[in-house]
Amino acid sequence: MTLLYSEVEEELRAAVRDLLADRYPPATVLARAESGSPYDAALWKSLARDIGAAGLLIPERYGGAGASAREAAVVLEELGRAVTPVPFLTSSVMATRALLAARSDAAEELLTSLASGDATAALAVSFATSPYRVPAGPVQAGPGGLSGRVTAVVGAETADVLLVPAGRELYAVAAADVLVEPVVSLDLTRPIATVTLDGVPATPLSADLTALRAALELGAGLLASEQLGVAEWCLSTTVAYVKERHQFARPIGSFQALKHRLADLWTQIVQARAAARNAADALAAAMRREAGADGTGTDGAGTDGAGTDGAGTDGAGTDGRGADDAATAVAVAQAWCGTVAVRAAEECVQMHGGLGMTWEHPVHLYLKRAKADEIALGTPGDHRDALAVLADVPAPSGP
């Protein structure tokens, strides 16, 4: 394993960053958010097709790139850095992971359509769902199809297909058959919606919710990389501002009261980067093992690294990528990065003074994204609670 970025990952990052700098500066993001329809179909096409982001996690035999969670994480860092409203996390990461884990013909067919970026899919579950408590969904399967109402769904407005848990099974339904109602959202660049199904025809994808749990875990683990990108933008924007802004005939960045807070934030972001990279690497190893184990993998399956990945680099020898390792790495990354992104955005607002409170300055887009991300896929507290078991730090018994 390595916690650094490979050359291929740096090239991918550069391609995404160039595209976003060129096509989606903060003023454009804000203008689109105000329009009530933040998603930009043309931008998604460039990202999904030209850069190939849509099919990153999809094996080559379904038309994808056969890359790993490490590469997807790098894309998310850049999308976080630009708070880009595209369905990458919802479709190319989470829905894709559910379909990969479902292993049915129907799922494979859908993967092929997602790989090109022509279609997108979304999970019809609340974005606040943590991987640890996957609820029996609010949707029921009856003779007339699926019925029910799911709140706080992300990525549904643009999705062609919704992946719906009903009872203990996972189904696919056409988005055209359901009612998607946008909700006024805290996060302007990733709004939530209410999805209502009323006797909708559905295709069964999988007979249990393992696939859903895998999707939530991958989503949570890679959301840490998005949070890292958000935090990095906030830090670098703040540092640039305090160097320029003068009060008391000095740049305000020369005051120790601000310098020390920014130094602490930098240290926390250094830790966040290590945690996010570790989660991505652990998830990549877990998915590689899974693909190798059922013999369907063609991408890297021959060199399944189970048990050998971590032996080489860290002298402490504790980074072997075992079965529980991904779960721990995800919980650690989420418990840390969610908080750091919020803190970075809050410091960014504060150190911009009055300017930070204006609608015109883009920092509010980052604050809103950071705060929503903190809740998404489990709060930092949910992930710490999970570690009580994963890391054997037992809770007190009794009340």
């Binding site: 390595t2 916690l3 650094l4 540092v239 305090v242 160097k243 000095r250 740049p251 960045g253 020369s254 005051f255 120790q256 601000l258 310098k259 020390h260 920014l262 130094a263 602490d264 930098w266 240290t267 250094v270 830790q271 966040a272 980067r273 290590a274 945690a275 990279r277 570790n278 080489g312 680099t313 860290d314 002298g315 402490a316 504790t318 980074d319 650690v332 418990a335 840390w336 710490r384 609670d385 570690l387 009580a388 890391a391 054997d392 730090v393 037992p394 809770a395 007190p396 018994s397």
Partner: protein, 392 residues
């Protein structure tokens, strides 16, 4: 010589086959390891290394797991600070003379940097070194000198020119701790014991051959030492759930009666912080293996100090009645520096030093702000003023 990584591992195994640790004393074993170039593989041949890439050290360390190692608590200053400084700035004679016994533990080193009047502002130090023919005569007082009572040698920074601004008038020396005029006095600390010392230097004569680097270059040489010190304090590898966390978890798991919900929430938060710090340290070591130590080590030291203090404080608190007792206030000189040993009360008190030694957390934040983030410096009253004219 050309060696690849496999060849290096082979070389280490061949050495171990020919040098059974059971029949050699630890010093003999370590000496033979030095002579075979397997101490620091990136050091030159003949000086404990093989001139190989720094990142290959892990290959050797893996092969030598379970063989005699140095007592790091006693030798940290020699191994972590003096050795890289001597390698970077020493003459060939100095490298030949000092590195081998430093590695084997036969000669212990200490650090004569801080003074009563020069802590965070180290460059304002007042210990004078005056040239007298081929010798220097040193007068002054140093403080917070760990292990001076064991040390054979010290790394010393002294003022050789008071008429220039403070950073320019310093020179770096190796100080002979057995020279007449070196007086080591134990300094009792809040833990009750004396791990540190005051060192009084009165007319100490050092030959010019003990100077490290050029006259007036002392600040630059000291930066190499301090950069390595911060990596040594904050950047050493720990197991997941090891270090101070290990001591707390042991009690937490074994004694359900100490557990409360409030402590549980704090402990989980600290477990996460310890883990992200461990990962950041591992990532930093990967970067270092690929390049050189930069100011990033300062961030690790900051995090390490905070964690140790929080965890050791929680440890005392969760023990309640037991936390009201202390193991031993006897005034004695400690054998080595130990952050994690003794009882929880000792660990709590000793950890207070973690945010002071090797650069206070406040100084480290300033270093990060200015050298990593590029923020403007504070207005300063001491720039371009001769040292002798500074208010003191």
């Amino acid at each position: 010589m050309t060696v690849d990584e496999a060849g290096l591992a082979e070389r280490a195994r061949a050495f171990l086959a020919g040098h059974a640790p059971e029949v050699l004393s630890p010093a003999e074993f370590l000496g033979a390891r030095f002579d075979a170039g397997l101490s620091w593989v990136h050091f030159p041949e003949g000086l404990g290394g093989l001139g190989l890439p720094r990142e290959w050290q892990s290959v050797v360390d893996r092969e030598f797991t379970g063989t005699p190692q140095q007592d790091y608590g006693k030798l940290a200053i020699g191994l972590g600070m003096a050795a890289p400084t001597i390698l970077a700035f020493g003459t060939d004679e100095q490298k030949k003379r000092f590195l081998r016994p430093l590695w084997t533990g036969e000669e212990i080193w200490c650090q004569l940097f801080s003074e009563p009047g020069a802590g965070s502002d180290l460059a304002t130090l007042a210990t004078r070194a005056v040239r007298d023919g081929d010798e220097w005569v040193v007068d002054g007082q140093k403080v917070w000198t760990s292990g001076a009572h064991h040390a054979r040698w010290a790394i010393l920074v002294a003022r050789t020119d008071p008429d220039v601004p403070k950073h320019q008038g310093l020179t770096y020396f190796v100080c002979d701790m057995r020279a007449p005029g070196v007086d080591v006095r134990p300094l009792r600390q809040i833990t009750g014991e004396a791990e540190f010392n005051e060192v009084f230097l009165t007319g100490v004569r050092l030959p010019d051959t003990l100077r490290l680097g050029a006259v007036g270059e002392g600040w630059r040489v000291a930066q190499t030492t301090l950069m390595n010190e911060r990596v040594a304090i904050g950047g050493s590898p720990v197991r997941r759930g090891g270090g101070m966390m290990g001591a707390v978890l042991e009690t937490w798991r074994a004694r359900p009666e100490v557990r409360t919900h409030a402590l549980h929430q704090r402990l989980l938060g600290l477990w996460v912080e310890a883990e992200v710090t461990r990962l950041a340290g591992a990532r930093l070591r990967e970067q270092l293996a690929a390049g050189a130590p930069g100011p990033e080590g300062s961030g690790m030291k900051l995090a390490f100090a905070r964690l140790n203090q929080e965890l050791s404080g929680l440890d005392v608190e969760m023990r309640r009645e037991e936390g009201l007792a202390y193991d031993d206030w006897t005034f004695r000189r400690s054998e080595s520096v130990d952050f994690f040993g003794r009882g929880p009360g000792y660990r709590y008190l000793r950890a207070k030093g973690n945010s002071i030694e090797g650069g206070t957390s406040e100084i480290l934040r300033t270093i990060i702000a200015e050298r990593v983030l590029g923020l403007p410096a504070e207005p300063r009253a001491d720039k371009n003023v001769p040292w002798k004219d500074l208010p003191r």
